[in-house]
């Protein structure tokens, strides 16, 4: 870790921490790391990540050094807006998303196909979400008052967020159509919940080890 104070970004009432793990070559496109459920941006660039440009990491709402909101209310969609807030600041990036961050990264890439120059989906906490549709209804509440990261509300609410396969497919198809990259989505997960199976089955989505995927994305303009 460089020891730098993160860049603070305001997403409505949430203050988001955007970390710079490696300054890299400032003239090159940054890599943006999205952590998994309950995680935070790592203190240093993980050993298996090789990227010539700057390496950044965003702490999602309720995670790491970002604001822990009062009384929960998490959705995957709000985390997509977290990423969108970061993209407004960073400009074009390549994204690596772990677990929950893989799902969020995919949706963010579909939302901003010109800004996200390649997204790689890798294993991590929260990859499966709550399955393809809601289970039996229940009211979930963690122990009250535990307002520290990772927010217990995030853990319970985002772990049951439904992820229909058709929904993920919709965003993949849009991204494949809109992006000017030949291979805008790379899947490199061992675990295959239904939404990941659906994504990887789409013609145009490629399977490739993270290292190779990053080497190729680093070559792009």
């Amino acid at each position: 870790m460089t020891g730098d104070e993160p860049t603070w970004l305001q997403h409505h009432r949430i203050r988001l921490a955007l970390h710079r793990l490696d300054p890299g070559r400032a003239d090159l496109r940054p890599l943006l790391l999205l952590h998994g459920l309950g995680e935070a941006t790592p203190a240093a660039v993980p050993a298996h990540i090789h990227w010539p440009g700057p390496v950044l990491g965003l702490d999602f709402t309720g995670h790491g050094r970002s604001t822990v909101p009062t009384g929960g209310g998490y959705t995957a969609e709000i985390l997509v807006a977290d990423v969108d807030t970061a993209l407004e600041h960073t400009g074009p990036v390549t994204v690596v998303g772990r677990g929950l961050g893989a799902y969020i990264g995919l949706l963010a890439a579909a939302a901003r196909p010109d800004t996200v120059r390649g997204v790689v989906l890798v294993d991590g906490p929260g990859l499966a979400g709550g399955g393809t549709e809601p289970g039996s209804p229940s009211i979930v509440a963690p122990f009250p008052g535990a307002q520290a990261p990772p927010d217990p509300y995030a853990l319970v609410e985002l772990a049951r967020d439904p992820r229909p396969s058709s929904y993920a497919q919709t965003f993949v198809r849009f991204l494949l159509e809109e992006s000017d990259l030949d291979e805008p989505i790379v899947v490199d997960t061992l675990v295959r919940p239904p939404w990941v199976q659906a994504v990887s089955a789409e013609p145009g989505v490629v399977e490739r080890p993270l290292r190779d995927a990053l080497a190729r994305y680093a070559e792009l303009d």
Partner: protein, 300 residues
């Protein structure tokens, strides 16, 4: 008509607050505190005092009517995040503050889906269920091609993210009572100007530059997400408590366009559905006497 009044409208008899793990929820009550309680859930973009005519009609017939403002609505706290899970959690806290015995639940629109969900999660707490035009169906969603569907979802996502980017420091636009009433009238075209002006005086606050709706400016129609009407409706067949559904058949921008025949495959045994011709989505506001009588008869 005098400023801030409406024929038959009565402001709540009592107000109190319920804490939902740091989010303060405003609870209002009409009627004798010793009468049997009934809890009413308002719809999205509404607030408890939209019941100012309907609730007193129930209270006058011997019910303690309890309503609350959902987080971000009316006098409840604005929060950082909003979600279905958070709304039903807040609702459960309100319910716990009323009674530990089974009681009737009434909900309008989104509130109707909420009370069905509550009945599915805590059936032991629900004595009867009334759903006022809150039975979603896909009837209003026209058939579109796959390509159009993808474009449409992408459009919703883009619009929603644009909205999120615009929110820092955002406040509701101020205006006169007439201006706020006219703006709301676009969402509620069938409600009278007199009623809408009254709503401004209870659902908005006045400051130096004019009136502003209390609702959090974060709130916006058409978020995005994978929600499916069937996810709500599938709670219905398993409802064991007596069920009354009221549909308003006049198509309206905030309604679902649900027809009685759309409900056939979801109704539990002995469910009762009343479809009101010539009435829009806000059945209890357009026809408070008629709907109150239906509910009173059902609960008796």
């Amino acid at each position: 008509m005098e400023h801030g009044t409406y024929p038959g409208a009565r402001r709540p008899d009592r107000r109190r607050r319920v804490d939902s793990d740091g989010v303060s929820i405003s609870v209002v009550e009409w009627g004798d505190p010793d009468d049997p309680p009934v809890v009413v859930a308002h719809g999205g973009f509404d607030f408890a005092e939209t019941l100012d005519v309907f609730a007193p009609m129930l209270a006058d017939e011997g019910w303690r009517v309890v309503g609350w403002d959902q987080r971000g609505h009316g006098d409840s706290d604005r929060s950082e995040l909003y979600s279905w899970d958070a709304d039903v959690r807040d609702a459960a806290k309100v319910l716990a503050s009323v009674s530990s015995d089974p009681l009737p639940l009434i909900g309008h629109s989104k509130g109707g889906s909420m009370v069905m969900y509550l009945a599915a999660t805590m059936p032991q707490r629900v004595r009867a269920l009334v759903n006022l035009d809150g039975l979603p169906s896909g009837a209003g969603m026209s058939d579109v091609s796959e390509r159009e569907r993808i474009r449409s979802i992408r459009g919703e996502l883009g619009a929603w993210l644009g909205h999120r980017r615009s929110l820092v420091g955002k406040e509701r636009r101020p205006g006169t009572i007439d201006e706020l009433a006219a703006r709301r009238g676009r969402m509620n075209p069938r409600l009278s100007p007199e009623w809408l002006r009254f709503l401004v005086t209870v659902g908005a606050v006045e400051s130096e530059d004019g009136w502003r709706w209390k609702i959090d400016p974060t709130m916006r129609f058409g978020g995005f997400g994978p929600w499916d009407p069937d996810w709500s409706m599938r709670q219905l067949p398993g409802v064991a408590a007596p069920f009354l559904g009221v549909l308003g058949l006049e198509p309206e921008v905030m309604g679902w366009g649900t027809r009685p025949e759309d409900l056939d495959r979801y109704l539990p045994p002995d469910a009762r559905v009343v479809a009101l011709d010539g009435v829009g989505h806000f059945v209890h506001i357009e026809q408070p006497r008629r709907v109150a009588d239906l509910v009173l008869e059902f609960l008796s």
